[in-house]
Structure formats: structure tokens, C-alpha cells
Symmetry: C2
Subunit: 328 residues, 2 copies
Amino acid sequence: VRIVLDAMGTDHAPRTEVAGAIEALSELESDVEIVLVGDRDSIEAELSAYAEIPPGLTIFHAPDRVTAADPPASVIRRKPDSSIVVGLKLHKAGDADAFVSGGSTGAVMATSLFTLRPLPGVDRPAIGTVLPTSAEPCLLLDAGANVDSKPHHLVQFAHLGNIFAQDMMGRETPRIGLLNIGEEPGKGNELSVEAHRLLAAESGLNFVGNVEGRDIIRASCDVVVCDGFVGNALLKFYESVAAFIIQMLKKGLDVADTDVDLEDVFRVLDYSETGGAPLLGVDGVSIICHGGSTPKAIRNALKVASRAVRSNMVEHSARELAASIQES
Amino acid sequence: VRIVLDAMGTDHAPRTEVAGAIEALSELESDVEIVLVGDRDSIEAELSAYAEIPPGLTIFHAPDRVTAADPPASVIRRKPDSSIVVGLKLHKAGDADAFVSGGSTGAVMATSLFTLRPLPGVDRPAIGTVLPTSAEPCLLLDAGANVDSKPHHLVQFAHLGNIFAQDMMGRETPRIGLLNIGEEPGKGNELSVEAHRLLAAESGLNFVGNVEGRDIIRASCDVVVCDGFVGNALLKFYESVAAFIIQMLKKGLDVADTDVDLEDVFRVLDYSETGGAPLLGVDGVSIICHGGSTPKAIRNALKVASRAVRSNMVEHSARELAASIQES
């Protein structure tokens, strides 16, 4: 398994990426290789701080870097030598099996779409996000790749989420929920009413019906599908609430003194545990991390990428979507 | 100031309502009267537990009760003797200045629309919710009265929120934000792009532009407008995250032992502090409380109702909307 890691993505690149890659290699199977794509000198400078470089770590030079100021759709044309474009082209060419980046979400998404292309049957790839809950994590998609989705897009999201939950989260028959503002089938907006109808009629999905915002943390399903506007608003809200509470609590609490397992609370709130957001529905493995990622978050994203490759998630998704198309 | 309180609304009605009303009367100005509308016998049975009944408390008998099984739009026709219909008609007739209920949100909303009617210039009244943040609370609207809103509805919500924030939250020039998934004006879905254009052109509003889910808890504005679908999903998510964390923490923490002011954390997360959700844009004061409200939440909702009456919020809203219509 060979994973390209964009070394120039996060806010503290390439330090975070180098640390995350070295952590990942010490924990992953010995056949995993990580290719750090980015400015060779900067990467080597970071590596020089380590006494020993794991054998699976190599550097692929890419002189240019995408910044927040670059319009996402223009990156592939205007920054062909950037770590994002070079890295994704390595993946596309088969020189690597997966791509991980903590760079601009828009740029990684747009460039992944251009280079990897959507799978047949996918009109709009979606960003999946694994949300911590009070029990097992829950996959939310779309977390922001698309707005103004149509009902049949949500059905495609459901299939993509279904495969991700099986291959990556170990759920045998994932429970698929539709984010809505009421439990009954007729509730919600035009999109959710029609999407409910389509999802209920779709075979091959364990559709459990509407779920509300409150059901997510209660872990009442494995996959929640929604339009990217509401998914993104929800996600950013969750992150901020969690960060705020962690900040307030960590300030003054002595964990050893309390009966409650605070680490459990923090784990529920701690985003970096989950390891990046996959762009689902493209013909390849592309994982998007926060710009503010820690080495732990990068490490976890690399593990997610490795598992996606090993489980043949992309081929599995392609088969499921082909079956869904044939049926309809 | 005379407030009708639906005594049959909450999950533990009328006990919760009676306790909340008595608490409110002991704290509010002496000219406040509360009319408990509902089954006289049940209310009197609850009142018998109190050694002294405050003089401002009276009962108005309404034999019927709305349940979750009643379709909201049919309540006014099929349950004319219910506490919701009787109470709102008392308000409409001028026998009371405001209405508070912990009954079915849909039923209170629909019946308020039918009896109180929307103010001129309001196509769709909206539910406002005061969200606790890390600093001053923030009003979110619409929290679920409408779905598939049009851009001009969001402008109306902005005006309604503007007046609420002035009269009820003490903000002199409320900062109005548009919930979106990016900061720049061109970001978002069709609704938010066009709403941004309209809001930026609207005079009489301190429009601060797009705000993201993460900006709410940071208190970056006083009023956030959005469609009711995303507002409702966000709100229910917030409540559930807050309830979950409170539950985990309260289980094992000894507040006295810690340096951090846990009560501060809980206050941020504690919904009952804010006192119900007003239905804004109707020609009257109608406050909707959770079915699971505590007496404290009912007390706070009664205080909100009292303040809305005293500040002439409804007349103020009507003037602002008339000015906005005249201009456009």
C-alpha cells in the first residue's frame, strides 16, 4: 500500500505531516509506504530532527504550493507543480494507491474531481465525515462538497456511505438515515420529502427513515445523508461547540480527581480521532484533513487511507453503484 | 401585563406550569398577572400543594387538550376547547397580552398563525431561538417554522430578529449574520447567495455578512438568519450535544473541587436559561416552550413574554416592517 501525503497542506506544514507520517509508519503494517509530496528541502529539514527515518518514507519533490488565496477550480491549471496536483496525478497514474492532504478543502476536492473523476453513477462526489457520538461513530455525508442537491444525489450519497460504513467502519448492514426535521415520511422540505420516497424504494439499502439533529449523537444510525449546506453548517457547529467545551474544561479540571471518565467525554468531542474526511464517489482514495490538523489527525487519516485501499472500497463502491443504476 | 399560560402543554402538565407561574410571579413586577388556561380541576389539584397562591394567578377553564397525535393545522377546527385555542383566543380578543405554551410546537405555531395572523409585510412568521454562546446569547431564526424559504423571507426574518435583539436582548445595533458555508458573498447555495445580495442592499439593518456554523458559539453576531430546515437541524443537534455532555459531566464531577466554573459551562449548554422560542412576525406575543421544560424554563418564558409586552415589541416590529416595505 502506497499513500501519497501532501506535505505542504496543514497550517504547520511540513512539520505536522512529517510527524504524522512517521507515527503512522510505526503503527501500520510493514508493507505500507508513504510518499511525502512537496518541497524537498523543507521536508528534509524536518526529517533531520529525527534520529531514524523509517524505510517506508520517501520524498517526491513538488516545488509549488496551493494557498487559501488560490481559487479551487483553477489550481489544476495554474499550479500544476503544486503538491496537491502532483500528488493526485501520482495516484491517478497508479504510482500510489491513495492521497491524503490537509490543504485547502476546496482545492483538494476540485483537483480530485478533475484528476480522479467521479465513478460511473455518481453525479456529485460527497465529503464524508465520521462524527463521534455517544456510542459508535456515525458517518455524515455530504459534509460540504455540494449545495442545492437533488433527491437522487442523496440516494447516491446513501450508497457511497453504505459501502464506507461496511468497509471502513465494520458495520455489516449499515443503518442509513435521512437528516430531516421530523420523523414522519412527509416531514421536511421538498428535497427531503422526495429523497425519503426514493430511499424507501431503493433496494440494497437498510434505510431506517428520517433522523433529526438530535439523533446523531445518540448513534441511532450508522450513516446520515443530507445536502452539503446543512451538513457543513452542522459539522462546523459541532466542531466549535466541542472545541469550546474542551477548552473550558481542560483549563481547570483535574481528571484524576473525578469519577467520570473525562477522557471519554473528550474522545467524543475530539475530532482528530476520526482521521480526515474522505471524498467519496471519485475513482480513487482522497482524504481531506483540517488545516489545523495535529500529527495524530494526519496519522489517523493515513490509517483510514490504508484501510480504504486494503478493503478495495473504491471497487466495492463502483459495483454497488453499477447495481443501483442497472436496477433503476 | 396579563399573560396566558397554557397549563396543559408540557410533559408534566400542569405541575410544571403551575410551579413556573408561581416562581415567575414572585420575581416579576407586581402588575403582572398570569392566567392558567386548562382543566380547572387538575390545575386546582396542583395549586393545593402550595400554602399560598399569589394574587396575580387565575384559572381559565379549557376542558380539552392537544396531544402529539393531533395534526397541527386541524387543532383550531377540531379542538376549539383546547387550552391552546382558548388561550390564543383570549390573547387575540385583548383579554391577555401574551401567550406561552409548552405544548406541541406545530399546534402552537399553526394556531398562532390562524388566530393572531401575520403582521403586514411578513409572509412567514419564524421561530426565534436564543442560543447560549461563549459570550452574549445569539438569536437564531428561523428555527423550524418554515422550510424551502425564499431569499426575501430571510430578509423579513432579519428585520424581525433585529427588533427582538433590540427590545428583548438589549442590543442597540444588532449585528445580523446570514448562516452560510463560507465567508465570501458568493458562497453557499442559491438561497444564501441571493439572500446575501438582498440583505446587503437593505437599509436599516447592520448586516455583517455570512457567518458559519462555528461563528455562532463565538458570538460573532447577535442575530443569525437561515432557512428553518437548517436552523432546526442545528438547534436539535446543539440541544443533544449539550444534554449529552451535561449528563456525562454531572454524573461524576464535584464542582466544588475544580478551578473551572462548571456552572458557567453548564449555563452555556443549558437551554432552559433562555426561556422559550418566540414565534416572531405574528400580531401578538406567542412563546413556545419545550415539552420537556422545567419550571425554571417556564418561568423564564413568562419573563420573556412580559418583557415583550412592556417593550411593545410587536408594534415596533410592525413599524420596522412597514418602513422596509415602503422602501422596496
